[in-house]
Every structure is written in structure tokens, then in C-alpha cells.
């Protein structure tokens, strides 16, 4: 069990309003990812759900029960912090056992649970070590271990992978995805990382200045962003926005085309431009094309493309995949 409902939740620190009023429903077993620019209130929202911050107004309920005033431990949630927040003077074993000890569980039961969690997370041989003697990935697993032994109604993750190097991040991402399938528990996950959001989420919540811009599955957000903000935020490299004549011709203030939806040709095409920097990734090539009045457009071409700096090229957007936005940035359908 673990459905979470936020109703008209508002949060202000003094006079500074961080979240002006937000409604959100998270279904039991769902993997929900919060994304948004730095400082938009993702962590604050997560901490409100956790009970580490008090809401200014509004209600939070878990499984239909109002927990707005409940202490963090009473909400039955577990949290994994960005810096792991392990207890440095306790062994790995005692770190994982701590929530159970606080719940006054008897020693034998604690031991059984800790051993099971350690086995799941490949930590058995490190149980007697201190957190300071572990690698980043191992610390991360201890933090997850401490979170799962309580059988929480939902897990809250605040950028859990951002302190890991790229290779480890991919590995841990898979492990977290695996864990979600295995446990089937609700997970709420905050990240900056496009790929984490797209690969892990059942549902992505795009936040901007404490306001939800759009909620939907990763592909929904990719295919039909509700506004220019979401369009620019989801997808990598970023969507190209074009104003002026091409937009007016299509009855829009701005049109957006994703880099992967532009065809490049040396002979003909809708827009002309000169090739700037080309980034060769092997599987793809990212070209930054200077298209005069349109500005710099990013084009993603599959495989190797034989153009070089300064070449004159023509670009053609895929007509079915042009996003049109009005003057307020709202999509025109």
C-alpha cells in the first residue's frame, strides 16, 4: 500500500513562497519522478511529503489517511538522501538496523531483516565496516538497505545517484529499477538527470518555480509537451525553438522541433545554414548549425555524417513532429 495525495499544498519560508499551491496524486506502486530546474522546489516537495518540513497550508494523505500533522516516522515512508546521511560512527549493520531498533523490534527479528537486506544488496561482507570505509556505490546501497528494512509504504529518493560517477550511476539506476519491480512499492524520485527520469519513471512530474507544468508518462511528455517549458526540459539534446517567419507561416508564435526530427542535406531543404561545431558520438552526430535569422539549431543525425566545420547545409523539419506554441508558450493542438 502506498498511495499519496497532495491537496492544495502550499509552502513558504517566511515571505518567500516556494510552492504556491499544488495538487498531485501518486498511485500505489507507481514510480514517480520529479524533475525541474535547480531551486524549483523538488527537494522541498519531497521533504513535505516526508514530514521533514511542515506545510504552510493544504493536506497530505497517505492511503487515504491524513498525515499532514504526523511526525516523519509515523508516515511509514523511507527516504534516501543525496549525501546518503549514513551514521558515520555506526557499523553498516547498525546503520541498517537503526530504524528497526528505534521501532523496538527484538534482536532476532532485526538480525533476520538486516541479513536479508544485506544479501539483496550485496553488502553481507561489509556489515562490520563503518560507512567511511566504503565506496560511494556501497554507501548508496547501505542507504537503500536502511530504507528497505522498514517495509515502508513508499520510498522517497532525493537525487540519490548524483554523487556517483557515470558508470556507477548507470549500474545503480538499473538496481533501483530492479528493486522497484521486485518490491512493487511506491517510489518518489527527484533527479536532474534526463535519462534517469525517462528510464525509471512511470510518471514524470515537471516542476517550475513550485508549480506543476505537466504530469505524464515519459513518452507522453516527449511526444506531446503541454507547453514550451516542458518541451525544452524533456529530451536531450534540447528541442530547437524557432520564432519569426517559419512560425508565423504555421500560425504559431513559436515552433519547436527536436534535433532528432530534422533532416540534413547538402543540396535541398527548407532552411539553409552553415555547420558549426559537430559532436561525433559514434552512434550519433550532434551538429550545431548556424541558420542565419533562425539562430543556432541543433541537429541529431544517426551514425556518422560527413560534414565538417563551415560546410553549407540544408535542414528540413519533420512536418508531423513540429510543436506549435502560442505567445504564452502554451501548445496549440
Amino acid at each position: 500500500m502506498g498511495s499519496i495525495t497532495l491537496k492544495n499544498v502550499r509552502k513558504a519560508f517566511g515571505d518567500t513562497v516556494i510552492i504556491p499551491g499544488l495538487d498531485l496524486a501518486i498511485a500505489d506502486g507507481e514510480f514517480v519522478v520529479f524533475v525541474g530546474p535547480s531551486g524549483c522546489g523538488k527537494s522541498t516537495l519531497l521533504r513535505l511529503i516526508a514530514g521533514l518540513e511542515d506545510v504552510t497550508s493544504g493536506t497530505i494523505s497517505i492511503d487515504g489517511e491524513d498525515v499532514t500533522e504526523a511526525a516523519p516516522a509515523k508516515r511509514g515512508l523511507s527516504m534516501v538522501f543525496q549525501s546518503y546521511a549514513l551514521y558515520p560512527h555506526m557499523s553498516v549493520y547498525n546503520n541498517i538496523a537503526f530504524p528497526l531498533k528505534m521501532a523496538k523490534m527484538d534482536k532476532a527479528a532485526i538480525d533476520a531483516k538486516v541479513q536479508t537486506a544485506a544479501a539483496t544488496l550485496n553488502l553481507t561482507q561489509y556489515l562490520q565496516r563503518r560507512p567511511g570505509q566504503l565506496s560511494g556505490g556501497q554507501r548508496q546501497r547501505v542507504a537503500i538497505g536502511r530504507a528497505i528494512v522498514r517495509n515502508p509504504r513508499a520510498f522517497l529518493f532525493d537525487e540519490p545517484l548524483s554523487n556517483l560517477d557515470a558508470a556507477l550511476r548507470v549500474g545503480m539506476r538499473l538496481e533501483i529499477g530492479e528493486l522497484h519491480h521486485k518490491l512493487g512499492t511506491t517510489m518518489v524520485y527527484v533527479t536532474h538527470d534526463q535519462v534517469e527520469a525517462m528510464t525509471l519513471a512511470d510518471k514524470i512530474v515537471v516542476l517550475n518555480a513550485g508549480v506543476i507544468e505537466q504530469v505524464g508518462s515519459p513518452l507522453e511528455l516527449y511526444k506531446s509537451p503541454a507547453n514550451q517549458f516542458v518541451a525544452g526540459f524533456i529530451g536531450s539534446p534540447k528541442m530547437n525553438f524557432v520564432t519569426g517567419a517559419p512560425a508565423v507561416n504555421r500560425n504559431a508564435a513559436t515552433i519547436g522541433v527536436r534535433p532528432e526530427h530534422i533532416k540534413i542535406s547538402k543540396d535541398t531543404g527548407e532552411w539553409a545554414g552553415t555547420v558549426g561545431v559537430a559532436e561525433h558520438l559514434g552512434s550519433d552526430t550532434f551538429l550545431h548549425v548556424n541558420a542565419a535569422a533562425l539562430g543556432t539549431l541543433t541537429v541529431r543525425a544517426e551514425g556518422e555524417v560527413s560534414v565538417s566545420y563551415g560546410d553549407r547545409v540544408f535542414l528540413t523539419p519533420d512536418l508531423n513532429r513540429i510543436h506549435r506554441f502560442d505567445a504564452n508558450g502554451v501548445v496549440i493542438r
Binding site: A73, F81, A85
Partner: protein, 301 residues
């Protein structure tokens, strides 16, 4: 001794061998002064301790063997002063560590005027021991003019307590604790401020209430600074002298330092005083090693 750890840091920074040699030479004067500073007095003390050396008996010279130690231990005041020393040191440490922890927790809370309070906090540490002993004895604990006596009279007592007269050791303990409380509190406050805020959040999620948070997160974090406080205080408190002398209670509540003083001052026996000094040094090491181990075992587990 103080030069040693720094020596290591320096040699880590200075990459080349030449620079290391240079560094060694550059440090040599400081090391020499330090060595002379601590070594010469110690060597002299050891030398005197085995010498027959009484200022009132200048003809009686030569090696004394262990007799200075023997007579120091046999001194009628020795056992009592030893017990007083241990009681004073232990009592003051317990008071200042417990009080200092509570005070540090309080000062770690956000409240209006916290900066000024913190600044005022340290002031007892700057008062000379003789001065503070005089103030406590004559203005606060005096049975007639004292503040405590005034308070007692306010509550209807006709015979206020004569602190230094009736409870001499306890009174000295209060004065010394007052002096050392700010030191303990400030060290522990600094340590508290280095405690990661996320630890609090994590323990709150894990179901730890304020008491469990203190017991399992804060206290272990303070274990090391507490050890430091204990170590430093032990060394200084074993040397408590001014408060006892000013209090005029050396005969009843004297400690080993006072006994060494009276051997020298009243009995003019330099040899025996040196022997007593050495005993005090050994005692200081034993006591502090014991205390540090005790704290380490109980808090870090």
C-alpha cells in the same frame, strides 16, 4: 613534542628531498626551544627527586635514593590530598562535560542575541584564577556578605552556609567548574555545529525521538571532542592551586599540588617536593589515560 605532527604535514607538502632538509633546518630552532623548555625542568626535577636537598639543612647532601618518594608517600597528608585531587579533578570534569554539553545544545538553538551570549560565555575563562577565587569566596560564598547567604536569608534562614568553611572541597570544585564550563561548552558547541543536518532528518525518518537522536547520533559525534576536553582539563585541574591557596583551605582540602607547595614552602625540602612533583606527573598520565579509554569505550560503540 608539539612539533612532531606538524613535521609530518610539512614533509608531505614539500616534495623534494632538498626542501625537506631545508624544512628540517628551518624547524630546528623551534624544536630546540621546545625540547629545552620541557626537558630541562623535567630533568632537574628528576635529579632533585633523588637528592638530599633541604634548604634548612644545607650540610646534609648527597644521593637520597628513593627516600624522598618514601617520605612523600608517608606524609600524613598524602592519602587525603591524593583523594582530594582525584575528587576535584573527576568532579569538575563530570560537571563541566555534562554542563558543557547541555549549554552547547542550548547555544546551538537559534535565538535572538545568540552571538552576544556566545561571546559572554567565554569570559570566565579570561578571569585569573586568583581573582575568581577571591570573588567567589568573598562576594558570592561568604557566610555574611555573600550572594548565596543573601539568598538563604531571603528564604528565612538565620544561619547561612559558610561554603569555604563547611564544604571546602566542594566550594573549590564550584569555582573551578565555573572557570572551565565555558571551555567545555565552546569546544562542544563547535563540534555540534559540524554535525550534518541530514543526520537529524535521517534519524527522524528512522523513528528516533529527541532523546534517541541525542543518545545515538549527537553523543557519539561528541565523543572525540569530549575526550579532548577531558584530557586538557585533567592536565590543568591536577595543577589547581590558586583557588585552594586563596581559599585558605590547603590544610583541609589541599591537593597534591598544594602538598608539593607546602613541602617546598613550609618544610623547604626541595628533594621531597621534586619527588612529589614526579608522582603528580605520573598520576596525571594514569588518570587521563584511564578517562580517555573509558569515554572512548562508552560513547563510540
Amino acid at each position: 613534542m608539539g612539533g612532531l605532527p606538524r613535521w609530518h604535514i610539512l614533509s608531505g607538502i614539500m616534495a623534494t628531498r632538498q626542501a625537506q632538509v631545508l624544512g628540517r633546518w628551518a624547524l630546528a630552532p623551534a624544536v630546540t626551544v621546545l625540547a629545552a623548555w620541557s626537558f630541562v625542568p623535567l630533568a632537574l626535577t628528576i635529579y632533585f627527586a633523588f637528592l638530599r636537598y633541604n634548604l634548612q639543612d644545607p650540610d646534609n647532601t648527597g644521593w637520597a635514593g628513593f627516600s624522598n618518594f618514601y617520605y612523600f608517600f608517608k606524609d600524613p597528608y598524602f592519602v587525603k590530598d591524593l583523594i582530594n585531587t582525584v575528587l576535584l579533578v573527576a568532579g569538575t570534569i563530570v560537571t563541566t562535560v555534562v554542563g558543557g554539553t547541555l549549554l552547547a545544545l542550548l547555544l546551538d538553538q537559534p535565538f535572538w542575541g545568540r552571538g552576544i551570549v556566545r561571546l559572554l560565555m567565554i569570559s570566565p575563562f579570561f578571569v585569573l584564577p586568583t581573582v575568581s577565587a577571591l570573588v567567589w569566596k568573598n562576594l558570592i560564598m561568604h557566610p555574611v556578605f555573600g550572594l548565596f547567604a543573601g539568598i538563604q536569608r531571603f528564604f528565612g534562614s538565620h544561619e547561612p552556609l559558610d561554603w569555604f568553611g563547611r564544604l571546602p572541597l566542594f566550594s573549590v570544585g564550584i569555582v573551578v567548574s565555573w572557570q572551565w564550563l565555558p571551555y567545555a561548552a565552546l569546544i562542544l558547541l563547535t563540534a555540534l555545529q559540524s554535525l550534518d543536518e541530514e543526520q537529524k532528518d535521517a534519524s527522524a525518518m528512522d523513528g528516533a525521538g529527541p532523546l534517541s537522536y541525542f543518545r545515538y547520533i549527537v553523543l557519539p559525534h561528541l565523543a572525540r571532542p569530549i575526550t579532548v576536553v577531558i584530557l586538557i582539563e585533567t592536565i590543568f585541574l591536577l595543577n589547581t592551586f590558586a583557588e585552594i591557596k586563596v581559599g585558605g583551605i590547603g590544610g583541609i582540602a589541599g591537593n597534591l599540588t598544594y602538598l608539593v607547595f607546602s613541602q617546598l614552602n613550609d618544610a623547604t625540602d626541595v628533594g621531597m617536593a621534586a619527588a612529589g612533583g614526579l608522582v603528580a606527573v605520573v598520576l596525571a598520565n594514569v588518570v587521563s589515560a584511564f578517562l580517555v579509554r573509558l569515554v572512548g569505550k562508552n560513547l563510540e560503540a
